[in-house]
Symmetry: C2
Subunit: 443 residues, 2 copies
């Protein structure tokens, strides 16, 4: 609970409302081989962020090979035909830069932040590993131990991690969003160079990638460099359409309890299947985003915390959340951590009552105004950070949205009406949800 | 509740114990193209059962194409290059026979029962549709409506069907056993001739099939006929190894409630993930089979019904079940239908108490003896029905077991000790289970 850091003073909000949304429009073009390119010029500091987003993630993995998208992300830092294992990051560092990568259900992204005059070198190396990866046993075998260790540390050793994994596995009946990004351990143990090579050849190609360059660059210069490095790589003519199994109409609410002696603070979490942001059709998703902010945003606006933490004192905290930037399905979350001596059922009932009361009393317009301000402020802060903006646009484009959708999002959020928010709240269907209790052994 | 029909008189049991297990040993051989053949000679009546089992089922479907195995089963009765749609069954009928087919998660089987001298014709037609299926739009399009209608009638219009589907979807976190055999409606609607053709070409081949012929035939004659009809079909050299995603270690018990106004009798069901029968290693599965018979078998032996229905009166009925003839995972089931005015939670608690008491008091040797007799009797009755025996052997071989496993099963069941039964019961892990309540709207 760090309430103070979440409070946005009213004065700051008033100032923010007056700010322009952005200085430079992102520019977009495509190479002849189908690679999409976004350039965001920002000349305040002589630095550039260079990202390559592949339109492939954990939800695109062949059945039984969970974890391969993330494993390949690790292997991309190993040898290519011309570079040694580890050389990529060493060169970035030697040039004063930083690099990393991340994998989600819908995308895998590689990025570097370096001095602007090193962009040529970054593209040369990134284009190299798009096609020339060499999977030596001395690399892939120990790296498999690394990802297993990562699963152990980041997930299995944390009850919250296991709980979240079990919750998603129960929420999704058909879609691979129910499979953990890092993979199921028993399947990770079977991953090898052949599986990685197949996945790499199938999905890593310029016509399945989005290049995002942001910072002290000129769009024409970026085009020249991109054509030289990435344009030389042929498109994969066999690239599959990106179709994953969707959820059926879910018909029975699920519940689960995870008990673990290491749990310090028990809590109740509920995940609902919800709509995602769809190209040209973001209003429904936006309604859920605003709903989440209203129910669980800052201390000033949180309908749930106001009632459950301050008025009734039954909660240490209560929350709501929404993730809708996804190719196929969104997830809406409600949760409560009970106060001392409040039972799990009592806490869940209080959460349900608070939500039901919200449905009855409707949207408080003052709170909605604050939420709109906060959402606008968050967007503006992000736009002021050119690397964060590159990341947002990259994620949007890698999940099927257009640049126009990405740029319109903030305005769509502002435009959502109380009626739309209530309709979204009413559409949350317990039959398409899972409710979990994370508890200690003795709770 | 038809208790009487389930009682096996002690005298009959004593007689059964003295019976030989079978008259004729099944004979097994393979064709050069890899097709497995089983012949069970039984000359009592001049009839033959002819079955072709494909080692492919709903759990082998590509993600997003659920229902295709069963849809293809329907399409197999349509046109081939030389036969018209419907002609197959018409010919069987004109020859005084009956034919049908069925699809499970692990196999798809086609069978006819005809006069023994018609075996040649059956093989000719069955071999024809193994490779010469012709998917005309006038056939596949209306047949898709047929399977959708079948889903509506057999599943969606029955709360028990929906409940069972939702239970399995919650039980399996990773394995396609969680997907309904008939398919999710939204995916069935997308099936077409291209998808069916791909599935057919990939999986329907002699080296992916088991031929079972049972009845008034001679093994050498069957071999000659099989070589002529099926032996002429080349093996599929690209047949994939049969590997499906397995379950991770499950860590959180799940619960669900399905309410439906049409539910006449509410009940509680619990499904546990359990071991399957494995080639050369059937003891663990056998222990679950005996455990299910002990807990939920006939009125004389059912631990659960004795206590819950007769002693406590809290149940209308109570049951236990086990299905272990599966390539990857078995399922163990416990359930209770509460008596009038007994609540769902009370019923579930009573079921849990009864199971816990069983774990404490252990196996009653008289009951175990009765169960052994009943299992032996069931096997012997089945062996006396040559068509049923063909079906059992076909299912066993199509799920990865050998003929030796299939033949040994009855003896393994007889051999299971009380310690093994209790160990199996103790190994049932609530964290790898889902408990469901099926209720009316007002229950």
């Amino acid at each position: 609970m760090r309430l103070l850091t979440r409070v946005v003073p009213a004065l700051a909000l008033a100032m923010i409302a007056a700010l322009p949304l952005w200085a430079e429009e992102p520019q977009q073009f495509s190479l002849d081989n189908g690679m999409d390119v976004i350039v965001i010029e920002d000349h305040r500091v002589p630095v550039v962020t260079h990202m390559v987003w592949y339109r492939v993630g954990a939800a695109d993995e062949p059945p039984g090979q969970s974890g391969i998208a993330h494993y390949l992300e690790h292997l991309m830092f190993k040898a290519t035909d011309t570079m040694e294992a580890g050389e990529f990051s060493a060169v970035v560092e030697a040039n004063g830069g930083r690099d990393n990568a991340f994998t989600s259900w819908d995308y895998t992204a590689y990025h570097q932040r370096v001095a602007a005059d090193r962009l040529d070198l970054m593209m040369e190396m990134e284009a190299d590993r798009m096609v020339n990866l060499r999977l030596d046993r001395s690399d892939w075998e120990p790296e498999r131990s690394v990802i297993l260790e990562e699963r152990g540390q980041s997930l299995e050793s944390r009850p919250e991690g296991v709980f979240n994994e079990q919750m998603r596995a129960a929420l999704f009946q058909n879609h691979p969003y129910g499979i953990p990004i890092i993979g199921w351990r028993h399947e990770m143990e079977q991953l090898d160079d052949t599986i990685a090579e197949d996945f790499y050849r199938k999905h890593y190609a310029p016509n399945n990638a989005v290049l995002v360059v942001a910072g002290d660059v000129d769009a024409d210069e970026v085009r020249d460099l991109a054509e030289r490095h990435y344009g030389a790589i042929p498109a994969n003519p066999d690239l599959d359409e990106r179709v994953r199994p969707l959820e059926p109409t879910q018909q029975a609410e699920r519940r689960l309890i995870l008990r673990d002696g290491r749990v310090g603070q028990p809590y109740v979490n509920r995940m609902y299947l919800a709509p995602n942001r769809r190209p040209g059709d973001q209003r429904e998703a936006a309604a859920y985003q605003v709903l989440a902010a209203l129910l669980g945003g800052s201390a000033q606006t949180s309908v749930l915390e106001r009632r459950l933490t301050y008025d009734e004192g039954v909660a240490l905290s209560a929350w709501a959340g929404y993730s809708g930037t996804a190719l196929d399905h969104g997830v809406f979350v409600l949760g409560i951590a009970p106060a001392q001596d409040v039972g799990m059922q009592e806490a869940e009932d209080a959460l349900d009552d608070a939500f039901a009361e919200f449905l009855e009393t409707g949207v408080d317009m003052d709170q909605l105004e604050r939420v709109r301000m906060q959402l606008r402020a968050a967007e503006i802060y992000e736009r002021d950070d050119v690397a964060a903006r590159a990341r947002t646009i990259g994620a949007d484009l890698a999940t099927g949205l257009t640049l126009a959708d990405s740029e319109a999002w903030i305005e769509v959020l502002q435009d959502i009406t109380p009626d739309e928010i209530l309709a979204a709240a009413r559409d949350l269907d317990r039959r398409a949800s899972v409710t979990g209790w994370l508890m200690g052994e003795d709770d």
